[in-house]
Structure formats: C-alpha cells, structure tokens
Subunit: 154 residues, 2 copies
DNA sequence: GTATCATTGATGACGTGTCATCTATTTTAA
DNA sequence: TTAAAATAGATGACACGTCATCAATGATAC
C-alpha cells in the first residue's frame, strides 16, 4: 500500500475513532459531537446567524439549520429573528446551553490531555502543517481559520 | 486554541475535504466513497462474508449489510449463500464491479500522485507513525492493519 | 438427541452530511 | 418605484454511520 494511501485511511480512521471517543463522553449530556461543536462555537462567538455559524463549523458545510433546530427544540439554543434583517436569525445559547458548554470544555480538555500525553515528543507541529496543506482554501479549512483567528469570548 | 485541538479539527477537515474530492471524482461512475471502498476491498480480497468484509473496512464498523445490498442491487457485487455455513454469505465482484474497481484504482492513483506532489519533502513517515498511535488497537486501526498485511490479489 | 449458547446477517431507529429546490426578504438597478 | 437579482433559511431527498434488536443457523454441552 502506498504511503499516501496509508495516510488517507489513517486520517479517516483517526477521525472515526476520535468521533467515537467524543460520542461516548458526550452521551451523558444528551448531545452528539456535531451538536457539541455548535454549542462550543456559539459559546465563543454568539450571537450568530445560521450562515455565520455554518462558516465556523468544520463538521458541516452550508447552513446547519436542522442541526440547530434540534438544539433549539432541546433547549440548548435560542433562536430569534434579526431586527435589522428579518431573513436572518439570531442564535444564542440558553442558560442550559452555557452550562453544557462548560461541561463540553471539561470533556475536551480531558481528551486533549490524554492525547497530548500519548503524543509526547511526536512531531505534532509538522503534522499540523501537513494537514493545513490539504485543507487550505477549502470550506473546512476556511472554517477552521475563522475559528482560530476569530475573537473568543474568554 | 490548543495544538491538539487544532490537530483534531484538521483531521476532521482533511477527512471531509478528501471525501468531497473523491465524491466528485467517483460521481461519474455512479458510486459513493464508501461504496468504492467496498469494491476496492473485494477486488483485493474476494470472496468475503459480510463480517470479513466489515473487518477490512475503515469507513464503517460492524457488518455493512445495507452498503453491500445497494451494490448488489446496482450490479457491482454478487451475493450467494455459503455452502459450508448457510448463515454466511459469499460476496464477490461482478464483471461490472471488476471494471469499476480498475477505474477506481486509476482515480485513486491520480489523487495520490497529486497529494504526493503537494507533500514533497514533508516527513510523511513520522506523521503516519503519529496517526497510528491514535488508532492502534481500535476497530478502524485493526481494519487498516488487516488491509495492509492481508494478501492482495495482485 | 435436545437444550443452550454463539454467530451471521437483516432490519428499525436516529442523527448526520450533502445537494437541490423552494419561499421570504432585501438589495440593486433600470 | 418597481422589476430583477441576490441572500437567508427551510425542506425534501438520499446515503451514510451507529446502535439495538431479531430471526435463522450452527456449535457446544449435557
């Protein structure tokens, strides 16, 4: 098997296993990994319209209206029409959403700590550089750039 | 943003963008990326039962019965009951499936070539090692191990 | 030989991801 | 100022991916 093919499947495998890991840890909070990304982004960037939110999500391209509708229905997110532009929608976290966001951050920190420990001494920086080459300028890469360079609530 | 968090989202982003890339290139052949992985694995390892196939797929855990049923319906794969154990099923590629497999290989080679060019000089080997640390011993990692060490048709 | 257990695969259910299409609203330009 | 174009979001359609459950078949133990 070619090196690059091995790399391709390793990226897929790592994504899947990472996702399963987060799925298990988020289950007690009643949310999925995609939902947690939305809550996490809103925690840092609220208020947002649907399209603004979509532009900050790596998990999904386009406008995440169904994803968000579920979170509204479950009480994590509030949605109101924008006053300036009634096509737009203004998304924010509810109190429940903010509480959940903090729990998500705890879970994430724990996972990141454990991965960091496992990768002690590994060339994480060059992997990051390599992966950036693959996603630069594409929708998911653009979203991540905005996430990194955007203002954070903290 | 923590390095490890950046890496997490880069892995997700790279997986998504790579998938979109293959989706576009496979569309003319009327198959999806998951379907192409099945055809590709069958090309190398046929005949297989559903569980054996599932143990060689990175894209999905468990038994890929619906994925395969669609490929049977579309004429890429043939399915018959095993003679020794009638619980089992014997999956093989049809002629159409073999022709498609060869087209898939061409597409993959082209993509791998273009990625290789972009990654000229990058320490791909150590990045492969890093990713292996994340998936070793887990379902997707085990599947990839079997794919690499397994007998190939060629 | 039969009762129990394990294995294989099918299926229902649920939440994504992605695309195309539709409606409502706002912007623009004639 | 009103007709055309652009934009925001909702929705239908389709194929995953994952889990739980079920029926059929085969293996094991007594």
């Amino acid at each position: 098997m070619r090196q690059i093919e091995e790399m391709r499947y390793l990226v897929l495998a790592a994504q899947r296993e990472g996702s399963r890991m987060f799925t298990d840890m988020l289950q007690p909070m009643g949310i999925t990994t995609s939902q947690s990304e939305v809550i996490r982004v809103l925690f840092d960037f609220e208020p947002l319209s649907l399209i603004e939110l979509g532009d900050l999500l790596i998990c999904e391209t386009g406008s995440p209206s169904r994803l968000v509708n579920r979170l509204v229905k479950d009480g994590f997110v509030t949605m109101e029409k924008s006053k300036e532009d009634s096509r737009k929608v203004k998304l924010s976290l509810s109190y429940k959403g903010r509480v959940t966001a903090k729990k998500i951050i705890e879970v994430e920190e724990a996972v990141y700590d454990s991965i960091s420990a496992k990768l002690k001494g590994a060339p994480v920086k060059s992997l990051i550089a390599l992966l950036w080459k693959q996603v630069q300028g594409k929708p998911a890469g653009n979203a991540l750039e905005r996430r990194i360079s955007g203002k954070s609530r903290k």
